[in-house]
Homo-oligomer: 201 residues x 2
Protein backbone atom coordinates (compact mmCIF):
# COMPACT_ATOMS: atom_id res chain seq x y z
CA UNK A 1 0.00 0.00 0.00
CA UNK A 2 1.33 3.45 -0.87
CA UNK A 3 1.31 6.20 1.72
CA UNK A 4 -1.99 8.13 1.66
CA UNK A 5 -1.70 11.71 0.43
CA UNK A 6 -3.79 14.87 0.48
CA UNK A 7 -3.66 18.06 -1.54
CA UNK A 8 -3.48 21.18 0.61
CA UNK A 9 -4.88 24.06 -1.45
CA UNK A 10 -4.03 27.47 -0.01
CA UNK A 11 -4.21 31.12 -1.06
CA UNK A 12 -1.71 33.60 0.32
CA UNK A 13 -4.32 36.29 0.92
CA UNK A 14 -6.55 33.89 2.88
CA UNK A 15 -6.69 34.47 6.61
CA UNK A 16 -7.35 30.94 7.86
CA UNK A 17 -4.70 29.57 5.52
CA UNK A 18 -2.21 31.09 7.97
CA UNK A 19 -2.92 28.84 10.99
CA UNK A 20 -3.65 25.94 8.62
CA UNK A 21 -0.24 26.23 6.93
CA UNK A 22 1.45 26.40 10.30
CA UNK A 23 -0.07 23.21 11.67
CA UNK A 24 -1.05 20.92 8.77
CA UNK A 25 2.44 19.46 8.40
CA UNK A 26 2.52 18.15 11.94
CA UNK A 27 -1.04 16.76 11.73
CA UNK A 28 -0.31 14.95 8.47
CA UNK A 29 3.02 13.61 9.66
CA UNK A 30 1.56 12.26 12.90
CA UNK A 31 -1.05 10.38 10.85
CA UNK A 32 1.40 9.08 8.26
CA UNK A 33 -0.27 11.05 5.47
CA UNK A 34 1.85 12.86 2.92
CA UNK A 35 1.09 16.40 1.88
CA UNK A 36 1.12 18.19 -1.45
CA UNK A 37 1.39 21.97 -1.12
CA UNK A 38 -0.87 23.49 -3.78
CA UNK A 39 -0.83 27.31 -3.92
CA UNK A 40 -3.72 28.69 -5.99
CA UNK A 41 -5.64 31.93 -6.52
CA UNK A 42 -9.09 32.53 -5.06
CA UNK A 43 -9.55 35.77 -7.01
CA UNK A 44 -10.83 34.18 -10.23
CA UNK A 45 -13.22 31.98 -8.23
CA UNK A 46 -14.54 34.93 -6.19
CA UNK A 47 -14.96 36.97 -9.37
CA UNK A 48 -17.15 34.24 -10.86
CA UNK A 49 -19.24 34.31 -7.67
CA UNK A 50 -19.79 38.02 -8.32
CA UNK A 51 -17.61 39.25 -5.46
CA UNK A 52 -15.33 42.22 -6.01
CA UNK A 53 -13.37 41.68 -2.78
CA UNK A 54 -13.18 39.25 0.13
CA UNK A 55 -16.58 38.30 1.59
CA UNK A 56 -15.05 39.38 4.92
CA UNK A 57 -15.01 42.93 3.55
CA UNK A 58 -18.47 42.63 1.99
CA UNK A 59 -20.24 41.43 5.16
CA UNK A 60 -18.92 43.66 7.92
CA UNK A 61 -20.16 41.62 10.90
CA UNK A 62 -18.69 38.46 9.37
CA UNK A 63 -15.36 40.21 8.87
CA UNK A 64 -15.30 41.57 12.41
CA UNK A 65 -15.84 38.15 13.91
CA UNK A 66 -13.31 36.52 11.56
CA UNK A 67 -10.54 38.87 12.72
CA UNK A 68 -11.42 38.27 16.33
CA UNK A 69 -11.63 34.53 15.81
CA UNK A 70 -8.29 34.50 13.98
CA UNK A 71 -6.76 36.41 16.86
CA UNK A 72 -8.05 33.82 19.33
CA UNK A 73 -6.94 30.96 17.07
CA UNK A 74 -3.39 32.24 16.56
CA UNK A 75 -3.07 33.12 20.24
CA UNK A 76 -4.01 29.58 21.23
CA UNK A 77 -1.34 28.31 18.80
CA UNK A 78 1.31 30.73 20.08
CA UNK A 79 1.57 32.43 16.68
CA UNK A 80 2.17 36.15 16.22
CA UNK A 81 -0.78 38.07 14.77
CA UNK A 82 -1.12 41.40 13.02
CA UNK A 83 -3.99 42.37 10.80
CA UNK A 84 -2.62 43.12 7.31
CA UNK A 85 -3.35 46.47 5.74
CA UNK A 86 -4.63 46.50 3.06
CA UNK A 87 -6.70 43.34 3.26
CA UNK A 88 -6.76 41.26 1.18
CA UNK A 89 -3.12 41.49 0.16
CA UNK A 90 -2.20 41.06 -3.49
CA UNK A 91 -1.02 37.46 -3.44
CA UNK A 92 -0.11 36.98 -7.10
CA UNK A 93 3.68 37.25 -6.84
CA UNK A 94 3.85 35.05 -3.73
CA UNK A 95 1.68 32.41 -5.42
CA UNK A 96 3.86 32.45 -8.54
CA UNK A 97 7.06 32.10 -6.50
CA UNK A 98 5.59 29.26 -4.44
CA UNK A 99 4.55 27.54 -7.68
CA UNK A 100 8.09 27.89 -9.04
CA UNK A 101 9.63 26.31 -5.94
CA UNK A 102 9.86 22.51 -5.78
CA UNK A 103 7.39 20.80 -3.44
CA UNK A 104 10.17 19.06 -1.53
CA UNK A 105 10.05 21.15 1.62
CA UNK A 106 11.17 24.42 0.06
CA UNK A 107 7.67 25.39 -1.06
CA UNK A 108 6.23 24.63 2.37
CA UNK A 109 8.97 26.55 4.16
CA UNK A 110 8.56 29.55 1.86
CA UNK A 111 4.78 29.50 2.25
CA UNK A 112 4.89 29.42 6.03
CA UNK A 113 7.30 32.33 6.09
CA UNK A 114 5.08 34.33 3.75
CA UNK A 115 2.11 33.78 6.06
CA UNK A 116 4.16 34.79 9.07
CA UNK A 117 5.36 37.97 7.33
CA UNK A 118 1.80 38.84 6.27
CA UNK A 119 -0.30 37.93 9.31
CA UNK A 120 2.38 37.91 11.99
CA UNK A 121 4.47 40.94 11.08
CA UNK A 122 2.15 43.05 8.92
CA UNK A 123 4.54 43.11 5.96
CA UNK A 124 3.36 43.54 2.37
CA UNK A 125 3.55 40.24 0.49
CA UNK A 126 3.11 42.10 -2.79
CA UNK A 127 6.61 43.49 -2.17
CA UNK A 128 9.30 41.59 -4.10
CA UNK A 129 11.87 42.61 -1.50
CA UNK A 130 9.89 41.02 1.33
CA UNK A 131 9.58 37.80 -0.66
CA UNK A 132 13.19 37.96 -1.80
CA UNK A 133 14.39 38.21 1.80
CA UNK A 134 12.39 35.09 2.65
CA UNK A 135 13.95 33.21 -0.27
CA UNK A 136 17.40 34.28 0.84
CA UNK A 137 16.79 32.97 4.36
CA UNK A 138 15.83 29.65 2.79
CA UNK A 139 19.09 29.57 0.82
CA UNK A 140 17.45 30.33 -2.53
CA UNK A 141 18.96 33.06 -4.73
CA UNK A 142 15.99 35.47 -5.21
CA UNK A 143 16.66 37.06 -8.62
CA UNK A 144 16.63 33.96 -10.85
CA UNK A 145 13.67 32.48 -8.97
CA UNK A 146 11.62 35.67 -9.34
CA UNK A 147 12.39 35.60 -13.07
CA UNK A 148 11.34 31.95 -13.27
CA UNK A 149 8.16 32.80 -11.32
CA UNK A 150 7.21 35.29 -14.05
CA UNK A 151 7.76 32.91 -16.95
CA UNK A 152 4.82 31.96 -19.14
CA UNK A 153 5.19 28.28 -18.18
CA UNK A 154 5.05 29.09 -14.46
CA UNK A 155 2.11 31.46 -14.79
CA UNK A 156 0.34 28.73 -16.72
CA UNK A 157 1.14 26.21 -13.97
CA UNK A 158 -0.51 28.47 -11.38
CA UNK A 159 -3.54 28.95 -13.64
CA UNK A 160 -3.76 25.16 -14.01
CA UNK A 161 -3.76 24.69 -10.23
CA UNK A 162 -6.52 27.29 -9.89
CA UNK A 163 -8.54 25.54 -12.62
CA UNK A 164 -7.99 22.20 -10.91
CA UNK A 165 -9.09 23.67 -7.57
CA UNK A 166 -12.27 24.96 -9.18
CA UNK A 167 -12.92 21.63 -10.90
CA UNK A 168 -12.56 19.87 -7.54
CA UNK A 169 -15.32 22.10 -6.13
CA UNK A 170 -13.23 24.57 -4.13
CA UNK A 171 -14.81 27.90 -3.22
CA UNK A 172 -12.55 29.00 -0.37
CA UNK A 173 -9.21 28.44 1.31
CA UNK A 174 -7.68 26.56 2.89
CA UNK A 175 -9.18 23.41 1.40
CA UNK A 176 -7.94 19.85 1.52
CA UNK A 177 -8.78 17.26 -1.10
CA UNK A 178 -8.16 13.55 -0.64
CA UNK A 179 -7.14 11.09 -3.38
CA UNK A 180 -10.75 9.90 -3.67
CA UNK A 181 -11.97 13.46 -4.20
CA UNK A 182 -13.37 14.23 -0.76
CA UNK A 183 -13.27 17.98 -0.13
CA UNK A 184 -12.72 19.51 3.30
CA UNK A 185 -12.88 23.27 3.80
CA UNK A 186 -11.13 25.26 6.46
CA UNK A 187 -8.51 25.16 9.18
CA UNK A 188 -11.12 23.39 11.33
CA UNK A 189 -11.22 20.37 9.01
CA UNK A 190 -7.54 19.42 8.85
CA UNK A 191 -7.88 16.53 11.28
CA UNK A 192 -10.94 15.07 9.54
CA UNK A 193 -9.34 15.38 6.10
CA UNK A 194 -6.17 13.61 7.19
CA UNK A 195 -8.19 10.93 8.99
CA UNK A 196 -10.32 10.44 5.87
CA UNK A 197 -7.21 10.02 3.71
CA UNK A 198 -5.87 7.45 6.15
CA UNK A 199 -9.03 5.37 6.31
CA UNK A 200 -9.96 5.65 2.61
CA UNK A 201 -6.51 5.06 1.08
CA UNK B 1 -19.48 33.29 42.11
CA UNK B 2 -22.50 32.64 39.93
CA UNK B 3 -22.47 29.86 37.36
CA UNK B 4 -21.13 31.09 34.01
CA UNK B 5 -23.73 31.21 31.23
CA UNK B 6 -23.78 31.51 27.45
CA UNK B 7 -26.49 32.49 25.01
CA UNK B 8 -27.02 29.90 22.28
CA UNK B 9 -28.51 31.72 19.28
CA UNK B 10 -30.03 29.36 16.73
CA UNK B 11 -32.21 29.55 13.63
CA UNK B 12 -34.45 26.63 12.72
CA UNK B 13 -33.60 26.81 9.01
CA UNK B 14 -29.86 26.74 9.70
CA UNK B 15 -28.10 23.53 8.81
CA UNK B 16 -25.26 23.55 11.33
CA UNK B 17 -27.66 24.55 14.08
CA UNK B 18 -28.86 20.92 13.89
CA UNK B 19 -25.67 19.20 15.15
CA UNK B 20 -25.01 22.18 17.44
CA UNK B 21 -28.41 21.90 19.14
CA UNK B 22 -27.91 18.16 19.57
CA UNK B 23 -24.58 18.43 21.37
CA UNK B 24 -24.30 21.85 23.04
CA UNK B 25 -26.23 20.80 26.15
CA UNK B 26 -23.76 18.02 26.98
CA UNK B 27 -20.71 20.23 26.31
CA UNK B 28 -22.06 23.02 28.52
CA UNK B 29 -23.11 20.67 31.29
CA UNK B 30 -19.71 18.94 31.39
CA UNK B 31 -18.07 22.36 31.78
CA UNK B 32 -20.50 23.62 34.42
CA UNK B 33 -21.76 26.38 32.12
CA UNK B 34 -25.46 27.13 31.91
CA UNK B 35 -27.19 27.61 28.62
CA UNK B 36 -29.85 30.03 27.41
CA UNK B 37 -31.70 28.81 24.32
CA UNK B 38 -32.27 31.85 22.08
CA UNK B 39 -34.21 31.13 18.88
CA UNK B 40 -33.95 34.00 16.38
CA UNK B 41 -34.49 34.69 12.68
CA UNK B 42 -31.61 35.02 10.23
CA UNK B 43 -33.88 36.18 7.41
CA UNK B 44 -33.92 39.89 8.40
CA UNK B 45 -30.11 39.83 8.83
CA UNK B 46 -29.56 38.13 5.45
CA UNK B 47 -31.93 40.58 3.78
CA UNK B 48 -29.86 43.50 5.07
CA UNK B 49 -26.76 41.80 3.63
CA UNK B 50 -28.52 41.83 0.27
CA UNK B 51 -29.15 38.07 0.11
CA UNK B 52 -32.46 36.81 -1.15
CA UNK B 53 -31.88 33.24 0.05
CA UNK B 54 -29.31 31.17 1.92
CA UNK B 55 -25.70 31.80 0.84
CA UNK B 56 -25.56 28.01 0.41
CA UNK B 57 -28.03 28.41 -2.44
CA UNK B 58 -26.28 31.48 -3.88
CA UNK B 59 -22.81 29.91 -4.07
CA UNK B 60 -23.36 26.46 -5.52
CA UNK B 61 -19.93 24.97 -4.71
CA UNK B 62 -20.23 26.21 -1.12
CA UNK B 63 -23.67 24.65 -0.82
CA UNK B 64 -22.51 21.31 -2.25
CA UNK B 65 -19.68 21.05 0.23
CA UNK B 66 -21.87 22.16 3.14
CA UNK B 67 -24.35 19.33 2.50
CA UNK B 68 -21.55 16.79 2.24
CA UNK B 69 -19.86 18.15 5.34
CA UNK B 70 -23.14 18.09 7.28
CA UNK B 71 -23.62 14.47 6.19
CA UNK B 72 -20.15 13.58 7.50
CA UNK B 73 -20.73 15.57 10.72
CA UNK B 74 -24.09 14.00 11.53
CA UNK B 75 -22.82 10.53 10.63
CA UNK B 76 -19.91 10.92 13.05
CA UNK B 77 -22.42 11.92 15.74
CA UNK B 78 -24.77 9.04 14.98
CA UNK B 79 -27.58 11.43 13.97
CA UNK B 80 -30.05 10.73 11.16
CA UNK B 81 -29.68 12.99 8.13
CA UNK B 82 -32.01 13.93 5.30
CA UNK B 83 -31.64 17.00 3.16
CA UNK B 84 -34.79 19.12 3.55
CA UNK B 85 -36.74 20.08 0.47
CA UNK B 86 -37.25 22.96 0.01
CA UNK B 87 -34.17 24.48 1.58
CA UNK B 88 -34.21 26.72 3.49
CA UNK B 89 -37.39 25.77 5.29
CA UNK B 90 -39.72 28.49 6.46
CA UNK B 91 -38.78 28.65 10.14
CA UNK B 92 -41.09 31.40 11.35
CA UNK B 93 -43.74 29.28 13.08
CA UNK B 94 -41.16 27.04 14.75
CA UNK B 95 -39.25 30.09 16.01
CA UNK B 96 -42.42 31.64 17.39
CA UNK B 97 -43.41 28.45 19.17
CA UNK B 98 -39.92 28.03 20.64
CA UNK B 99 -40.07 31.63 21.83
CA UNK B 100 -43.43 30.99 23.51
CA UNK B 101 -42.10 27.95 25.39
CA UNK B 102 -40.33 28.51 28.71
CA UNK B 103 -36.54 28.10 28.66
CA UNK B 104 -36.63 25.50 31.43
CA UNK B 105 -35.91 22.44 29.30
CA UNK B 106 -39.12 22.52 27.26
CA UNK B 107 -37.73 24.99 24.71
CA UNK B 108 -34.54 22.94 24.28
CA UNK B 109 -36.45 19.67 23.95
CA UNK B 110 -38.84 21.17 21.39
CA UNK B 111 -35.97 22.72 19.41
CA UNK B 112 -34.02 19.48 19.20
CA UNK B 113 -37.10 17.61 18.00
CA UNK B 114 -37.75 20.26 15.35
CA UNK B 115 -34.18 19.87 14.06
CA UNK B 116 -34.53 16.11 14.00
CA UNK B 117 -37.83 16.32 12.09
CA UNK B 118 -36.32 18.77 9.59
CA UNK B 119 -32.81 17.42 8.99
CA UNK B 120 -33.27 13.84 10.18
CA UNK B 121 -36.67 12.94 8.78
CA UNK B 122 -37.21 15.46 5.97
CA UNK B 123 -40.47 16.79 7.44
CA UNK B 124 -41.74 20.31 6.78
CA UNK B 125 -41.25 22.51 9.83
CA UNK B 126 -43.57 25.10 8.31
CA UNK B 127 -46.36 22.57 8.92
CA UNK B 128 -48.33 23.31 12.11
CA UNK B 129 -49.28 19.62 12.35
CA UNK B 130 -45.63 18.52 12.43
CA UNK B 131 -44.88 21.07 15.14
CA UNK B 132 -48.09 20.23 17.01
CA UNK B 133 -47.15 16.54 17.09
CA UNK B 134 -43.80 17.46 18.63
CA UNK B 135 -45.50 19.58 21.30
CA UNK B 136 -47.86 16.73 22.10
CA UNK B 137 -44.95 14.32 22.57
CA UNK B 138 -43.48 16.82 25.05
CA UNK B 139 -46.74 16.93 26.99
CA UNK B 140 -47.74 20.40 25.78
CA UNK B 141 -51.25 20.95 24.45
CA UNK B 142 -50.62 22.28 20.89
CA UNK B 143 -53.64 24.49 20.20
CA UNK B 144 -53.28 27.05 23.03
CA UNK B 145 -49.52 27.23 22.54
CA UNK B 146 -49.83 27.88 18.81
CA UNK B 147 -52.30 30.66 19.61
CA UNK B 148 -49.88 32.13 22.16
CA UNK B 149 -47.07 31.85 19.60
CA UNK B 150 -49.07 34.08 17.23
CA UNK B 151 -49.82 36.77 19.82
CA UNK B 152 -48.43 40.26 19.28
CA UNK B 153 -46.38 40.05 22.48
CA UNK B 154 -44.71 36.81 21.41
CA UNK B 155 -44.01 38.04 17.87
CA UNK B 156 -42.45 41.10 19.45
CA UNK B 157 -40.33 38.91 21.76
CA UNK B 158 -38.93 37.05 18.74
CA UNK B 159 -38.22 40.33 16.95
CA UNK B 160 -36.43 41.58 20.07
CA UNK B 161 -34.22 38.47 20.14
CA UNK B 162 -33.37 38.97 16.46
CA UNK B 163 -32.55 42.64 17.12
CA UNK B 164 -30.40 41.63 20.06
CA UNK B 165 -28.59 39.04 17.95
CA UNK B 166 -27.85 41.68 15.35
CA UNK B 167 -26.68 44.15 17.97
CA UNK B 168 -24.33 41.51 19.36
CA UNK B 169 -22.75 41.18 15.88
CA UNK B 170 -24.36 37.95 14.70
CA UNK B 171 -24.41 37.24 10.97
CA UNK B 172 -25.01 33.47 10.98
CA UNK B 173 -26.18 30.55 13.05
CA UNK B 174 -25.50 28.86 15.31
CA UNK B 175 -23.70 31.53 17.32
CA UNK B 176 -22.77 31.59 20.97
CA UNK B 177 -22.30 34.77 22.97
CA UNK B 178 -20.70 34.88 26.40
CA UNK B 179 -21.63 37.22 29.26
CA UNK B 180 -18.68 39.49 28.40
CA UNK B 181 -19.86 39.78 24.78
CA UNK B 182 -17.44 37.37 23.09
CA UNK B 183 -19.01 35.97 19.91
CA UNK B 184 -18.35 32.47 18.60
CA UNK B 185 -19.81 31.34 15.30
CA UNK B 186 -20.58 27.79 14.29
CA UNK B 187 -20.94 24.24 15.51
CA UNK B 188 -17.12 24.07 15.44
CA UNK B 189 -16.80 26.73 18.16
CA UNK B 190 -18.99 25.28 20.90
CA UNK B 191 -16.07 24.00 22.97
CA UNK B 192 -14.13 27.28 22.74
CA UNK B 193 -17.21 29.35 23.61
CA UNK B 194 -17.98 27.27 26.68
CA UNK B 195 -14.32 27.30 27.73
CA UNK B 196 -14.26 31.08 27.30
CA UNK B 197 -17.35 31.48 29.49
CA UNK B 198 -15.75 29.32 32.16
CA UNK B 199 -12.44 31.17 32.24
CA UNK B 200 -13.87 34.71 31.84
CA UNK B 201 -16.78 34.45 34.27
Amino acid sequence: MTMPAVDFFYEFASTYSYPAAMRIGAVAEAAGVSLRWRPFLLGPIFTEAGWTTSPFNLILAKGRNMWRDLERTTEAMGLPFRRPDPFPQNSLLAARIATALPDDGKRAAFSKQVYRAEFGEGLSIADAEVLGAILKRLGVEPAPLIVAAGSEANKQALRATTDEAKAKGLYGAPSIVTADGELFWGNDRIEQAVEWAKTHA
